[in-house]
Amino acid sequence: MRIGTAKENYIADEALFDTNVQRGWMIALIAALIALPFLSGQYAIYLVCLVLINIVSTTGLNILTGFTGLVSLGQAAFMGVGAYIVAIMEIHLGTPFLLNLIVAGFGAALVGIIVGLPSLRVKGLYLAIATIAASVILHFVFANWTSVTGGVSGLSMPPASFFGSELIQPDQVYWMIMPITVIMLFGAANLFRTRIGRAFIAIRDRDISAEVLGIRLLRYKLMSFAISSFYAGVAGGLWAYFFRVITPESFPLLMSIFFLAAIIVGGMGSILGGILGAVFMTMVPEVLKMMVGVLSPIWPDAVAVMSPVRIIVFGALIIFFLIFEPEGLAEIWRKIRRFFHLWPFKT
């Protein structure tokens, strides 16, 4: 228990940040995010952008899987829907990027609702498999609806423009990705202070009980699918602006597994968990790459072993966290915080 945080009313109890220290850290974090492009190189910003896009999509999946308890392996396909919508709008209409992203979000949400329709009849693993089917079918559409999606060769699109200046380099696109990520994260965190968010949690904990309490299951499950795919669609749109080339292979089933792994490693049912998971899972391959760079003078085969080791580490992380820390990195973070709150007294 933390010292000195007695809550005197419900509003204080529900607040997103309950102490001034937390608010201070938050301001510091945002200041750091603003200062970042001026301090670091292109590659670092490239990585940060990638992490931010993954955070948006992971948070979306966390709303669906971590908070509503519906497992989905279609997140990457929903991202694909968003990315294609953005690319098509940018190529054919040239509308402003903010509009494109919003349309992408809603388009993906619509697809999400359709995919979520079986969720009233089937749940758990059957639902997961239905979403695999959805992603296979969407992949087929991306690859074969050649007149719209460009088929297997995909689409390449012009960069986003912001008041006449084009966003090409990572440090330019960063100014589009970062604010949107921050806004969407605040949105997700606030969602669970509302009636809808609490209904999601009730459904996760026991859906039949939730129905008895008067929560309409179909409506809220579809809503969860819609919100989650909205996040995926926006993330896909950002992805499209960031890479500017989209092919059907850009959004494989493995990517959906990546997002599911990210929320498991980070912590299901926690916004912080989604963030930590996305950061961790995106950075692990980079750390491995750095290790290969260090090792290759001594051990020339290191580069060849790199790709399989990456796959093994990916799988091993999922297994390790599920067996030893099912609450994920968010729980580890909470433990560390708890330790320092009471330090030097014994916990």
Partner: protein, 292 residues
């Protein structure tokens, strides 16, 4: 319509379906006894095929020694997986266990790539290559003999499952774990046994699939088709896996022959969606009733 072509495709489809049925059998066996949805089934098949390469090409052993050794080694692998990864997850919710098997699949792919590289391999040819004609219809010998072996394996398994003491213990565990425990059946041992047997069946499936189409680390995709098979048949129905295996094999081959290769996955997965909407528990699966 060309009936000869139609029936040839049908035969090939049944042949493919026989292999799906073998893999589906291993899948259903694990699910029935331990309630684990094994997403690593395709990877287990792949591991079996690569272990066979290790024995037959790596150590240059004759095929008739390599096959039993492969089955034993893969069975051992199955046992190790059960003890180290699945056992600690007992009692966790189904979704966590599902994710653990996805992680397992990824680890298996990585290990295979470290030992054998990412390029596709061909298995040692051991299936006779003289063409088979049923009536006038030609059937590729590999598919034909593969189907024959698959049928024998399935038949053998069903007999063992009915009569052998271990098979009875297995069915008892699948029926009611607590009751089986209190009747003196060593349930944890049955769990290990199930994984060993399923891995052995997967090894045979892997060798057959590998000798028809070659092996590569991306063979795990085969597991997705197996997933379609077991969902259509019903997760806990052996009969369902067999029938749905043949059925999916036929659909896939016909879609591939008449519409084009890219329609294979689309056809099977559309069928899957249809089945999920109409009969969520599959054709022969048990409809579980939820209680508060």
């Amino acid at each position: 319509m060309d009936w000869l072509f139609f029936s040839e495709i049908g035969l090939a489809g049944i042949g493919t379906g026989g292999l799906y049925a073998v893999a589906g059998l291993a899948f259903v066996l694990i699910y029935k006894a331990t309630r684990v949805v094994n997403m690593a089934m395709g990877e287990l098949l792949m591991a079996g095929a690569y272990i066979f390469i290790g024995f037959s090409a790596g150590l240059a052993l004759p095929v008739w020694i390599s096959i039993p050794l492969t089955i034993l080694a893969t069975g051992l692998l199955g046992g190790v997986i059960e003890r180290t990864i699945i056992r600690p997850m007992l009692g966790e919710n189904a979704i966590s266990i599902f994710m653990v098997t996805i992680g397992l699949g990824s680890v298996l792919v990585g290990l295979v790539e470290i030992f054998w590289g990412a390029d596709p391999h061909r298995l040692v040819d051991f299936i006779p290559s003289d063409p088979i004609f049923i009536g006038e219809a030609y059937l590729s010998p590999k598919v034909g003999y593969g189907f024959a072996v698959a049928a024998v394996i399935i038949g053998l398994f069903l007999v063992v499952f009915r009569t052998w003491r271990g098979g009875v213990a297995l069915r008892a565990t699948a029926g009611d774990q607590a009751a089986a425990y209190s009747m003196g059946i060593n349930v944890p041992k049955v769990f290990s046994l199930v994984w060993v047997i399923a891995a052995m069946i997967a090894a045979i499936g892997g060798i057959l699939v590998g000798s028809i189409g070659g092996v590569s680390p991306s063979m795990g995709v085969y597991g997705l088709s197996v997933l379609v098979v077991v969902i259509i048949g019903g997760l806990d129905s052996l009969l369902g896996a067999l029938i749905a295996g043949i059925f999916v094999g036929l659909i896939e081959t016909y879609a591939g022959a008449y519409l084009g290769g890219e329609y294979k996955m689309l056809a099977t997965f559309s069928l899957l969606v249809l089945i999920l909407v109409v009969r969520p528990y599959g054709l022969f699966g048990t409809h579980e009733i939820e209680r508060l």
